[in-house]
């Protein structure tokens, strides 16, 4: 081992300083929301809370966890995640298997039929019209059906299948198994790692989706957590146009919780599942992303 030179030491210092700065810039905003959400609302209004809660209080959490609108929206979000995720994974992987078969008649044009949709879309308004024509506006299924297909994920699974030993499929065919059998008995179990990755990505997508609920549904019973959070955010933004004096007066009236701490607590509730889930994804998506890049 050579001893470190002075230049290398400076270089290391700069590198670590940069990384720690990035780490703080990434982490602090979440910390900020967390401490604001657990600080008493009447105290938060005085400002100056940056690193530590001053008056610990979980009132805002109690408030939102007993709020019917928020509880119901969590239910809708969980429902769409639990129903949408397996269906999406099934539809995509059912497609990936035939498209990985080099002997499929019309394989090229069929593949192109799907790939084309990655590059050209009709835009929001015609899309809305189609949803309307299919009676999906203001229906729970607007959360599920349009998301069943995803070309990028299909390519990931197809690439994965193409990497499996072909002999397995061949010998099953000789034993007289049909393609559906082969898919469920051989392909599905073997592709589980990539399917799990895609399932987690899809689940996160469902959890995070707000636009479909916010725009394509009117029924308050169909609002997802993120859509309710958008509503809270909008109220806050309209509120911030009001003068500070007005705000003080408003908050004096409602000492226990201000809309601001509620907003922070709701943000934390929406973030928490993501924080719990994505670190487990890490080793998969790194592989998946680079694999997809190689192919496309």
């Amino acid at each position: 081992m050579r001893s470190k030179t002075w230049g290398d030491a400076v270089y290391s210092g700069v590198v670590y300083a940069f990384l720690i700065a990035v780490l703080l810039a990434t982490f602090y905003p979440f910390w900020n929301v967390l401490i604001l959400s657990v600080n008493s609302a009447s105290d938060t209004i005085r400002g100056g809370i940056y690193f530590w809660p001053r008056e610990l209080s979980f009132t805002s959490y109690r408030e939102i966890l007993t709020d019917n609108e928020i509880l119901h929206s969590v239910g809708v979000t969980v429902a769409r995640t639990l129903i949408g995720t397996p269906l999406t994974v099934l539809v995509i992987s059912l497609l990936a298997y035939p498209l990985s078969n080099r002997e499929l008649v019309l394989r090229k044009p069929v593949t192109l039929y799907f790939i084309f949709t990655m590059y050209f879309s009709g835009g929001l308004i015609p899309y809305y019209m189609i949803l309307k024509g299919l009676n999906l506006i203001d229906s729970f299924w607007v959360f599920i059906l349009p998301g069943l297909m995803n070309v990028f994920y299909m390519i990931l699974i197809r690439t994965y299948i193409e990497g499996l030993p072909g002999e397995l499929v061949e010998s099953a065919k000789i034993d007289g198994a049909n393609d559906l059998h082969i898919y469920f008995r051989i392909i599905l179990p073997l592709t589980l790692p990539v399917l799990a990755t895609i399932a987690l990505f899809t689940a996160i997508g469902h959890w995070n989706a707000w636009f479909d609920s916010y725009v394509f549904t009117y029924n308050p019973d169909l609002k997802t957590l993120q859509a309710v959070l958008v509503k809270i955010l909008n109220q806050y933004q309209t509120g911030s146009m009001v003068s500070d004096a007005q705000k003080m007066a408003d908050s004096a009236k409602r000492l226990a919780v201000s809309s601001d701490t509620i907003r922070m607590a709701a943000t934390m509730v929406a973030t928490l599942p993501i924080v719990l889930v994505y670190p487990f994804l890490q080793r998969y998506f790194v592989k998946g992303m680079t694999l997809g890049a190689v192919k496309s």
Binding site: T5, G7, V22, N32, Y50, S121, I125, G163, Q237, Q282
Partner: protein, 327 residues
């Protein structure tokens, strides 16, 4: 990693046939009816939700009046040709929308493109596995949260009581808290830095993968030559990243019209609309909020066509560059 390297060898093999084609297409289709059954669900979904809207683009060429049964009003509406496009290009909004879209995209690119490269280079210098792991886990987090959550966080940070104003005041860069969301001049910068904050950790993955594939002997050789770590980075790591950088930059330029929707929609308000409005938020506001369906469809179609041409062009360029860099 057997997946990338030798896929060809492992693919289900075609048994060599004398005449090339095993029977007629009809017979093969019948043999493959199970496969077609498996394609069907995805085929129908794509037909309805991806190709359906393409037929709906007819909307851009008629004067659609909402109200009444949907299909009826659709087919009974007057055909107006390119009138909506003409209106878009001449009413003055076009320039504002394009300016905002391009400014936000390019500013985001200016910050957001080099950031993951720097990050990957820096992570590569870290020897401690634990630090590396913690760093990467934390730096991916913003990518996985929704823009709704991100907007909530960003608005809090930039509020008059937020940390950003606090720091600016401590540094005496401003005497009064800056009202970031009441003056349009800040908006482009807010979007660019938000985009960078949200995705730089995640986007570093591509570069880290490229770095991982560098032959360690190159570093050994550089060390023997007495190269410092800075020089190793400059002369070994960076050149190895060049192909990835070039390809990703070309592809990023192809997406300039996709300045986003979520971040603008969630962070904007009426006071900053002149600077925040991009093509997608404009389409949304005119189409779904103001009910000008045909006009908004035309604007959307304009964007789709230009974006399509851009993507095809940059893909072709990327392919060429890729081929060249191989030799």
């Amino acid at each position: 990693m057997n997946t990338a390297a030798n896929t060809a060898a492992l693919r289900p093999k075609t048994t060599p046939k004398a005449g090339g084609k095993p029977g007629g297409i009809g017979r093969r289709l019948r043999q493959q009816k199970m496969l077609w059954l498996m394609i069907l669900p995805a085929f129908v979904c794509t037909l309805l939700f991806s190709y359906g809207p393409l037929f709906g683009l007819y909307m851009a060429f008629i004067n659609y009046q909402p109200g009444g049964p949907f299909l009826e009003s659709f087919f009974k509406s007057e055909f107006v040709g390119l009138q909506w496009f003409e209106y878009f290009f001449t009413n003055g909004d076009f320039w504002i929308i394009m300016r905002n879209t391009l400014a936000q995209s390019l500013l985001s690119l200016l910050f957001g493109f080099p950031a993951p490269i720097l990050l990957a280079l820096a992570i590569n210098e870290v020897k401690s596995g634990a630090f590396k792991k913690i760093f990467q886990t934390v730096s991916y987090l913003p990518h996985f949260i929704s823009w709704v959550i991100a907007a909530n966080i960003i608005i809090t940070l930039l509020s008059s009581e937020g940390l950003v104003n606090k720091v600016l005041m401590l540094l005496h860069l401003t005497d009064e808290p800056i009202a970031f969301f009441q003056n349009g001049h800040y908006f482009w910068w807010i979007i660019a830095s938000s985009n960078t904050w949200k995705d730089m950790g995640f986007n570093a993955i591509m570069y880290l993968a490229a770095i991982a594939s560098i032959n360690p002997e190159l570093y050994e050789a550089a060390k023997v030559d007495g190269a410092s770590r800075l020089r190793q980075m400059m002369h070994v790591t960076l050149p190895a990243l060049k192909p990835t950088i070039v390809i990703l930059l070309i592809l990023a330029v192809g997406g300039v019209l996709n300045a986003g929707f979520d971040q603008q929609y969630l962070l904007q308000n009426d006071l900053v609309l002149q600077y925040s409005d991009v093509i997608d938020t404009y389409t949304y506001r005119y189409g779904l909020q103001n009910g000008m369906f045909s006009y908004a469809s035309a604007v959307g179609l304009f964007k789709s066509v230009v974006a399509f041409i851009l993507v095809l062009t940059v893909n072709r360029i990327a392919k060429k560059v890729n081929d060249q860099s191989l030799f």
